[in-house]
């Protein structure tokens, strides 16, 4: 007669294998580090072996793919470089003007923060990394990047792209790291709606969509509103773009609450390169400070030109008015003055940047019915200030 173990050998082996794995699962659930969500040492070891076995092949595939693409794209790039160069120059000019107008706001914000003893955190150091793989399943939203502890990466460091946030570093191995995307169900980030300043928690749902959860219905929440990081999660610095509000949905499990669906700013489905923020600081980097100073200088120059114009051209403000701003106004000269948002001056004459059919705003203003005596004054050469273009050469309206 066949023994019990011989007869049910297959089932016994299956039961033993399942039992071992269930015990392993139970231990993992119990030992997971609650604060960081990182795995225990043993589990990390298993993951490390698996990653070490697969990542060399992933790197090889990546290198082959890049090599092929480079050969093709170099040829295509050569054909497009002149056109791209022109458009980039135009964009730089536009961004410089934008930056200049924002610089004053930033300076004001810094002063207010200093008054409130609020510590602003700047992105001081980042490490660029390439995405070499994914989790390969819809059930978890993970990425593998080609940088690890040897490059200074640590768990919980924020991962971003220039477009928006991506996630945070989960497990770090010597040469690779796992990144938990913000669209994963187990992730979480503190976010705020840009205009309404409504705060919430960002989380992924089962379909991998981003949503703000545990919010009460609010009429002010509109589609299209930008979502930024709030800095409250102690992972992401404040003010990084997250995405845009798409819609609101009722939370079926928690009745009074709603979920705000968000379209991510970064393309989480096809990421090639990411940046890992390895260091935050209370001060700007030298490069950031230089950019900021340049922006301020640009804004100052623009304002000088606009002030000169406003003085020379007819206006509703009487000359010699005490409330009139100084012709040359610098923060050093009057540090207590209220900053004014710098806007680029309007063009005096239509030029190649003006939209077709646009009338020059300065000329009709010279003949209003209320100011019949006013003539467009000639702009003498004396209006040209040191280190400043002549009024007629004022930067055109973007």
């Amino acid at each position: 007669m066949e023994s019990f173990s011989g007869r049910y050998k297959n089932l016994l082996v299956l039961a033993a294998v399942l039992l071992l794995q269930v015990m392993g699962l139970a231990m993992q659930v119990r030992r997971t580090v609650p604060q960081s969500g990182s795995d225990s040492h043993q589990v990390r070891l298993v993951r490390y072996w698996a990653v070490a076995a697969v990542s060399p092949f992933e790197r090889a595939l990546l290198a082959i793919g890049h090599g092929t693409r480079h050969v093709w794209s170099n040829y295509i790039d050569l054909r497009r470089v002149r056109r791209d160069n022109d458009s980039l120059r135009a964009e730089i000019s536009r961004l410089r003007l934008e930056q200049a107008s924002v610089a004053e706001d930033a300076r004001q914000a810094q002063r207010l923060q200093a008054i409130l003893a609020f510590r602003e955190r700047y992105i001081y150091k980042t490490v660029a990394a390439q995405v070499i793989g994914t989790s390969g399943t819809d059930q978890s939203r993970m990425l593998y990047i080609d940088k690890g502890s040897r490059d200074g990466l640590k768990p919980d460091m924020p991962v971003i792209t220039p477009d928006g946030i991506v996630g945070k570093v989960k497990d770090v191995f010597p040469k690779e790291s796992q990144v938990l995307e913000v669209s994963d169900q187990t992730s979480g980030a503190g976010v705020v709606l840009e205009s309404t300043r409504i705060r919430g928690i960002l989380r992924g749902n089962a379909a991998g969509q981003l949503q703000m959860i545990n919010l009460l219905p609010d009429e002010r929440i509109k589609a299209g509103e930008r979502v930024l990081t709030s800095g409250g999660d102690q992972v992401f610095p404040r003010g990084l773009p997250v995405g845009q509000v798409v819609s609101t949905e009722k939370d079926r499990e928690r009745d009074p609450y709603i979920n705000v669906m968000i379209k991510p700013a970064a393309n989480l489905l096809q990421l090639e390169e990411v940046l890992i923020i390895t260091q935050l600081s209370d001060h700007m980097t030298d490069a950031q400070q230089k950019d900021f100073n340049e922006a301020e200088a640009t804004g100052l120059t623009n304002r000088r030109a606009s002030d000169v114009l406003s003085e020379k051209l007819p206006s509703t403000q009487a000359p010699g008015d005490a409330a009139a701003p100084d012709l040359i106004h610098t923060p050093e000269a009057n540090p207590n003055s209220v900053p004014i948002t710098v806007k680029p001056p309007p063009a005096l004459h239509p030029d190649r940047f003006s939209p077709p059919g646009t009338k020059p705003p300065a000329l009709p203003a010279a003949k209003p019915p209320a100011l019949p005596a006013a003539k467009p004054p000639a702009l003498p050469a004396a209006t040209k200030l040191p280190n400043e273009p002549a009024a007629s050469e004022a930067p055109p309206h973007p």
């Binding site: 794995q21 699962l25 993951r47 595939l61 390969g136 399943t137 993970m142």
Partner: protein, 172 residues
Amino acid sequence: MAIVYNSRLDAEEHGFHPLVSVLVPLLALLLQVYLPKYFHGFATFDLPLIVTIFFAVGRRHPISGTLTGAIIGLLQDALSGLPIGINGVTKSIVGFLAASIGVRIDVENSGTRFLLNFGFALLASIIYILITRVLLGTEVPIAWTRELLRAVANGLLAVPLFLLMDMTKRRP
């Protein structure tokens, strides 16, 4: 052609070169984590599951099917970031059942292969949901339509893949 074998002796058992037994699952795992980087929808497929079923029905040995499924599943868990054991348990059961069924039915037919993979993909989804809900206590919303579509997609992909992997078979 008879689709039901009367006894285990009637069924044709296949063996695989040790290198094939190692490299094919590794390749499946590699493609599973690499291809979704470029084709996001590829994450719908479960190549390791298809490979598990293929080796299990090819060898027609439940213990071998269980162990193959367990190893492939554990490796997949290690790479996916999920708790290690979810796919291990799932694929152990699938490997065991596939090997047991492989003894009784003809698995050389494309229609049977589709049904086999469709059924096991659906079973894998059910086991995954059970483990995460009951064992891990995680709230996983159940979207049966999506799971059905996933099962159909895996069944369809399995047919050409099985034909491709048939070339690695050898008689013991």
